[in-house]
Amino acid sequence: MPLMPENQPLHQPRSKTDLFVSFTILALQGFGGVLAVVQRELVEKKRWMTREQFVEDWAVAQIMPGPNVINLALMIGGRYFGMAGALAGIAGMLAAPMVVVLLLAVAFGGVSDAAWAQGALRGMGAVSAGLIAAVGLKLISALRNNPMGMPMCIGLASASFSGVGLLRWPLVYVLLGTGLVACSWAYWQLAKQAALPGGRA
């Protein structure tokens, strides 16, 4: 597997079964959140989408209500196979993991207080925090072609990080604040591009 498969052609899911099985396998690998696995599998291994497309879809999946990885599965499934594809995506994400978690609940309901189990959760939590950060860092390269330009992107990202991560303001206010600035700026830039001779209509 080459490290930078950016320039290889994109693939797409072959069938609804392919969607279901792919998302099942993804979900079963996702300890402490599925996002990191989704990014690696869909963008780097399966090549169903580019990093840019992933960031765009992820933005929508995160802003819509509902669990974000399931929103993503629903959107991808829906894009290729309509409503049936969306259902296949959701079912893939949920069915097998649900069986696993219920079996765990029946089998180990009482173990969660043990010191080693608490410790294992601590350790896994620290790793999954690292997985999420790594996805964030990888996706920065997707901003290269952003119409707002890299300096503006970095500025907006820093402002959002400061608001949510450092100052711990409620997410809604930060999204409304930086989001509004970002979308207006992007709109203006895209409109300027479109107005240039030979620009995108």
Binding site: L28, G32, G130, V172
Partner: protein, 200 residues
């Protein structure tokens, strides 16, 4: 054995309505609605014990798959309480399954319908300036949110004197996943092992 919970069909409907009403509010993940679920399921109705509530969240986070499955576990436990726990045999299994279905359909259906409809519409109009501006504009912000999530998860362990090995583990994981193709399950397993041994 706990006293068996008596749930009428109206109660099951209330359970459904509770999760369905939270579905559209839970922007940023259903976990943001956990305090409201606690108020209703533990404080108000006492359908779940404190321990069942907490372990539902912890177990779903430890298990593979989307964290939303903590809602399935809550429904499972409500059903188990309405039966006679694991000793209740098939009645308990049936009620627990009912609990899982009712809570998961409740939390998933409204948001999924909205997301499906909205994203279909957006995809059909993907060349419109407004849609392109939204996607481009939100991209850096979404990346910042990922980094913030990781940051806040790390700092939820706020005793640097004893928690610093966790910070190191998070930083090393970030570096390894960012720069190499090492399979993530190895890292998760390593984290679990180090934690179980009490080293982090």
């Amino acid at each position: 054995m706990n006293p068996v919970l008596q749930l009428t069909p109206a109660d099951w409907l209330d359970l459904f309505k509770h999760f369905a009403s939270l579905s559209l509010l839970a922007v940023g993940g259903a976990i943001t609605a956990a305090p409201e679920m606690h108020r209703y399921l533990v404080d108000e109705t006492a359908w779940l014990s404190e321990a069942q509530f907490t372990s539902s969240i912890a177990l779903a986070q430890a298990a593979p798959g989307p964290n939303i499955l903590f809602v399935a576990l809550m429904g499972f436990n409500v059903g188990m309480n309405a039966g006679a726990g694991l000793g209740g045999g098939w009645v308990s299994v049936g009620l627990a399954s009912l609990g899982v279905v009712i809570s998961m359909v409740g939390i998933m259906l409204p948001s999924s319908i909205l997301t499906y409809t909205a994203t279909r519409w957006a995809h059909q109009h993907r060349d419109k300036l407004g849609i392109r501006a939204f996607k481009s504009g939100m991209a850096p912000i979404v990346i910042a949110l990922l980094l913030s999530t990781s940051w806040l998860l790390t700092l939820s362990h706020n005793q640097p004197a004893s928690d610093w090995p966790l910070y190191v583990l998070t930083a090393l994981t970030t570096l390894v996943v960012w720069r190499t193709q090492v399979h993530m399950l190895w890292l998760i397993g390593l984290g679990a092992l180090l934690g179980a041994l009490g080293w982090v």
